[in-house]
């Protein structure tokens, strides 16, 4: 009888311990901070487009193109392509 009670107590303890120790999904804690940071940081592949030495304004592009005697390759977006677009 006492063994059954002890076993039941242990089961109840494990159940509630599990509930309280488990973090909510998508929570942010000092323990998982690096995991989220690393995931959010763009990968090298995602930053491949930055290997092109983009200038940040059309006027600067025209002036540089004139100096270097090269054509302009212009990429324009709603929102700056090098920022939030």
């Amino acid at each position: 009888m006492s063994r059954t009670i002890v076993a039941q107590f242990i089961l109840v303890f494990i159940f509630f311990s599990g509930c309280t120790l488990q973090e909510d999904a998508f929570s942010l804690t000092p323990k998982n901070f690096d995991m989220w940071k690393n995931y959010i940081t763009p990968t090298q592949n995602e930053l491949a487009w930055t290997r092109i030495p983009w200038l940040s304004s059309f006027s600067e592009g025209l002036i540089q193109a004139n100096t270097q005697q090269k054509p302009v390759l212009l990429w324009v977006m709603n929102g700056h392509p090098l920022g939030c677009t």
Partner: protein, 334 residues
């Protein structure tokens, strides 16, 4: 921003770009302003892939230094863009030398650029954000869309991250104005495209708390925690401006954030800064690419010190609505 991945990450285009002066810009000013560079752009765009004025002129253009159009396209297909760029290059090589230069003394100044307000000696952060679908996140299932933005605080605002007489053990709230800037303009759902900022009344709760944990050799080290709930439902509350939507609003963002930073008292600037935020978004805005669902999901944000390179000096997406009186606005009467 899909073009970053599908077009400009293509090694053939990265290589081909060496034969050009690769240039970017924000199309809204170029297609509407009366500056010299904008006039050149508009004349060129009238001959390009979107000939009709009125809609967006975004896309890719190959042109001469005086703005003569050689080729143009708006496509997310690297093969299509490659062909267009090669066509433009071919035309360039056929041009007589006299057609390859700007006229002498040609002025290209823009009357106004938001980047002129870049706070050189302030706190400038680069933010990255991406959808999160699982916890823990699975790299192999990483979303193909992510975005960048920049966060600006001038020198005075940068110093306001500290109390007047900071000491280890101090715990305090970030001043409301700076708090507001982060939650209204930067913890927003722009992962898949430009979204809308929140109005002050739409921030239902928000708090950033700072604890000074260490002070050594002029370096003041903080822990940063915070949370927010922003709900936009119904009418647009930010007046008539470039962002005014045509539809009623129904979107929200709930966030938790955590971070660390170090401010150097002698240099009067931050030397380290990192905040991660996990947001739960619901709903969509007019142009933020959520039309095809899901209706809600988690979004991860990372804010870190910008490096001060040219690319880091691009203005924040919502700079025109920023709660900062030091931002220089265009003269509307011009």
């Amino acid at each position: 921003m899909a073009g970053r991945r599908s077009v400009w990450s293509d090694s053939r285009l990265i290589d081909l770009a060496k034969q050009f002066v690769p240039t970017t810009d924000e199309v809204w000013r170029l297609q509407g302003a009366q500056d010299n560079d904008a006039n050149i752009f508009q004349e060129m765009a009238n001959k390009g892939h979107y000939r009709r004025a009125g809609g967006s002129r975004q896309g890719i253009y190959v042109c001469t230094p005086k703005g003569d159009l050689l080729s143009s396209i708006n496509s997310l297909d690297a093969d299509v863009v490659l062909n267009t760029v090669k066509t433009g290059l071919g035309k360039w090589h056929e041009l007589p030398l006299t057609e390859r230069s700007l006229p002498e003394n040609h002025l290209l100044n823009a009357a106004h650029r938001w980047e002129n307000s870049y706070p050189e000696d302030g706190l400038v952060l680069t933010s990255y954000n991406i959808d999160i679908f699982t916890d823990p996140p699975i790299n192999e299932e990483r979303s193909d869309r992510w975005n960048i933005d920049h966060v600006w605080f001038n020198k005075d605002e940068s110093r306001q991250w500290l109390p007047n007489h900071p000491k280890v053990g101090d715990i305090y709230d970030l001043p409301e104005k700076l708090n507001d800037r982060i939650f209204r303009f930067h913890l927003v759902d722009n992962v898949r495209g430009q979204t809308l900022p929140f109005a002050p009344a739409e921030i239902k709760s928000s708090r950033i708390q700072i604890e000074i944990v260490e002070y050594e050799k002029d370096n003041m080290r903080f822990k940063i925690t915070g949370s927010s709930l922003a709900i936009a439902k119904g009418e647009w509350l930010l007046g008539e401006n470039d962002w005014t939507p045509t539809d009623l609003l129904d979107h929200s963002m709930k966030t938790n954030l955590l971070g660390e930073a170090t401010y150097n008292l002698s240099l009067e600037k931050f030397i380290e800064f990192e905040i991660v935020a996990i947001g739960h978004r619901i709903g969509k805005t007019q142009n933020n690419g959520r039309k095809h669902g899901p209706d809600s999901n988690y979004v991860g944000f990372l804010f870190k010190l910008s490096q001060g390179r040219a690319n880091d000096k691009i203005a924040p997406g919502f700079v025109d609505l920023y709660n900062a009186d030091w931002i220089i606005h265009p003269n509307k009467t011009m």
